[in-house]
């Protein structure tokens, strides 16, 4: 521990002057931004380029088409297998002799704490305020299809994971791409796995780290008043470093326990608000359905709603990105398909349940300005979204909607956002580390280097307003999806073979239920 503290004090001493200077001279921010934008801007524009004649980015279409293909290819596994998924999570098929190993529930909960976060709170507000209530409908549709993508990637994650002599495991797209491609005699597996790993490391530093730190600081300073971002950054970095490198398991354990309860509490509060306003639920669903096909006054009408909904679902549940396959591969099971079944619940919980709750509360709360005479929402052309009370958007809009019912909600939301951001960072530090060790090999020193880099980026993310850097890291997340989904197309026959074999053994009674 003492070594750790020496390191930490050194880290602070090295960082503070730099960070303070960055705060004072916002010119430095601007310079970094400009240089970074010059070199990476073209790539970001390429990833988020809209399809000709629309504002729909091709990358969102890429994810949705993938989800549709997997849904058809596996015969709507997310609907047919839903009940079986829940039985697996309950442990009905878990061998009692494996008690003490990672259960299906634990693998699912760990993966979920990496995805449930800002997307469910801030992202939904963005979607609903730009795409109108109808965006919710398309978000749910995309979430339902995304379940098939998760099924595919997580089955492969378990099937092709590495199991080491000491019993620890490593899995994820980089492993199934190399091993799966080799098995099918396909070329370029090694190259794709390396590309995926590079994208994962950069995505982990950006979307899984800087963006989270940045938003956590924004949320705290929004409630307690403005103060320098590096303070939040250093605190978050220290706590994160203590957890991922210092072995302070207790903090991790506390977060891992508190985050699910925050999630459950968030859903319960949402349901409570819906119950209080029960007379408006039918109206809200009406708005969502009508809005889905007409737009109800938003710019772009039907397509405006569709684009926002699809986009939000894709950004929120990470289906097709490949990150979940890393988290799910630690489970103890002899049947890789079972983890696929379990993983398909993830987009359901994340998008279909939690995102929908946020959307319903925003619609019912009346924070979106509505003209009863025309039955349309009032468009604020200047901000490019539906006019709201106080012209707020993002987290602030969600906060305002919930505050209509409970005035204490913004404080709770602040705690929730910080905890969600923290747990997402812990998860992504792990995903990044797995990609790092895939590239550079395992070893305490090599791993420590990555962990230090990761924590430095937390400080940078919280302290600076590095728009282009964050855009670039978002682009990296979606680059992961390009490589991953191409690989899934090539490997899906293997998954189908696994699935058919599993289903037939389930029917024949070869796979037994341990709990009756």
């Amino acid at each position: 521990m003492s070594k750790f503290f020496v390191f930490v004090t050194g880290l602070i001493a090295a960082l503070l002057p730099g960070m303070a200077a960055a705060q004072e001279a916002s010119g430095l921010d601007a310079r970094i931004n400009a240089i970074f934008a010059d070199y990476t801007g073209w790539y970001v524009s390429f990833i988020f380029a809209p399809l000709p004649g629309t504002s729909f980015s091709w990358i969102a279409l890429w994810l949705v088409v993938g989800a549709l293909v997997f849904t058809v290819y596996f015969g709507a596994i997310q609907f047919k297998g839903f009940v079986h998924s829940i039985r697996l999570v309950k442990g009905d098929y878990s061998d009692p002799n494996d008690a003490g190993e990672v259960s299906h529930f634990q693998a699912l909960a760990t993966a979920l704490s990496g995805t449930v976060g800002l997307g469910n709170i801030a992202g939904v507000a963005v979607a609903v305020s730009i795409g109108g209530p109808g965006a919710t409908f398309w978000m749910v549709v995309a979430g339902l299809f995304g379940m098939a993508t998760k099924f595919t990637e997580c089955t492969l994650g378990v099937k092709y994971r590495n199991e080491y002599p000491d019993g620890s495991v490593s899995g994820g797209p980089m492993y199934y791409i190399t091993k799966g491609f080799k098995e099918r005699g396909l070329p370029l597996g090694g190259f794709m796995a390396v590309m995926f790993s590079i994208f994962t490391i950069l995505g982990a530093l950006g979307g899984g780290n800087m963006f989270q730190a940045n938003q956590a600081h924004a949320q705290i300073s929004g409630v307690v008043g403005d103060y320098p971002g590096w303070i939040t950054g250093v605190v978050l970095a220290l706590v994160t470093f203590a957890v991922i490198a210092g072995g302070l398991k207790s903090i991790a354990r506390v977060t891992e326990k508190v985050v699910p309860f925050m999630g459950i509490f968030y859903v319960l509060v949402s349901i409570l608000i819906l119950i209080i306003n029960y007379d408006q639920i039918a109206w809200a669903f009406g708005q969502i359905f009508v809005g889905a096909f007409t737009g109800l006054g938003v710019v772009g009408g039907f397509t405006g709603a569709l684009i926002q909904g699809f986009r939000r679902a894709a950004f929120s549940n990470e289906a097709g990105i490949g990150s979940a396959a890393i988290a799910h591969s630690a489970v103890r099971t002899k049947e890789p398909v079972t983890e696929g079944y379990v993983a398909l619940l993830e987009p359901f919980i994340d998008t279909v349940v939690i995102c929908t709750m946020t959307a319903l509360v925003i619609v019912i709360s009346g924070v979106l300005n509505f003209d009863p005479e025309t039955g349309l929402y009032i468009w604020n052309a200047e901000l490019g979204r539906i006019a709201t009370e106080g012209d707020v958007g993002g987290v602030a809009l969600t906060s305002a909607a919930y505050a209509q019912a409970f005035s204490w909600f913004p404080v709770l939301l602040m705690v929730a956002v910080v905890l969600f951001a923290f747990s997402t960072m812990i998860s992504w530090s792990y995903y990044g580390l797995k990609a790092w060790t895939y590239l550079f090999g395992e070893g305490a020193m090599k791993e420590l280097v990555f962990k230090i880099i990761f924590c430095l980026f937390i400080v940078i993310g919280a302290a600076a307003s590095l728009g282009p850097v964050i855009d670039f890291s978002d682009a990296m997340l979606f680059s992961m999806a390009i490589v991953n989904i191409i690989a899934l197309y090539f490997l899906m026959p293997i998954v189908r073979r696994e699935l058919n074999s599993y289903v037939s053994r389930l029917k024949s009674g070869e796979i037994v239920k341990f709990k009756q």
Binding site: G91, S94, P96, N97, A99, G100, E101, V102, S103, H104, F105, Q106, A107, A109, T110, S113, G114, D166, G167, S168, V169, S170, V243, I244, K249, A252, R253, E256, K257, V259, P260, I326, A327, A330, V331, R332, I426, S427, Y430, Y431
Partner: protein, 166 residues
């Protein structure tokens, strides 16, 4: 404990199930505490009185499949589990087994992960045990106040008589 030992436990289990038909079996919960030791001492007394008797000593490592873990903990879980089992055997179970064996008792040792009340009950069923003997632990945590302690839950659900040693 390694796989081989686990397997030998399994075969032992089967052998003992056959023997259990003719023999009286007691299941004793051991947790390294004084109360556990008292429970074992009581079981030995009973076994002497009964004569032809097997004492199944079980150490339960509290664990729930519904707890929350970090990705890193999941990765190392298998390793940790082996360590937990080895430690339970080394520190608590093996010394107790050795002593009981030298005293001339027929004893079997088992380590399992899970909920103590559930495990002891299912073990009693598996082995056709005549009774379960546990020590009463004096701690009164919030959790046991709400959900009841191991003893309380065991008494409420057990299929065989339960003896609780104060």
């Amino acid at each position: 404990m390694n796989r081989a030992q686990a397997l030998s436990d399994d075969t032992q289990q089967k052998q003992h199930r056959d023997i259990a038909m003719s023999k009286t079996t007691f299941v004793v919960g051991l947790d390294g505490s004084e109360a556990g030791a008292r429970a074992l001492a009581f079981a030995k007394d009973r076994a002497k009185a009964v004569g032809d008797c097997t004492i199944v000593i079980c150490y339960v490592i509290e664990w729930s499949p519904f707890s929350f873990q970090t990705p890193e903990e999941n990765e190392k879980r298998h390793q940790r589990r082996e360590q937990e089992i080895a430690m339970a055997r080394e520190r608590v179970l093996d010394p107790a087994l050795e002593r009981a064996a030298t005293e001339g008792f027929d004893v079997v040792g088992i380590v399992r992960h899970g909920d103590a009340a559930d495990i002891l009950e299912s073990l009693a069923r598996e082995r056709g045990a005549k009774q379960i003997i546990i020590g009463r632990v004096g701690t009164r945590g919030l959790k046991s106040r709400i959900f009841g302690g191991v003893a309380g839950r065991l008494v409420a659900t057990a299929s065989v008589p339960v003896t609780i040693i104060p």
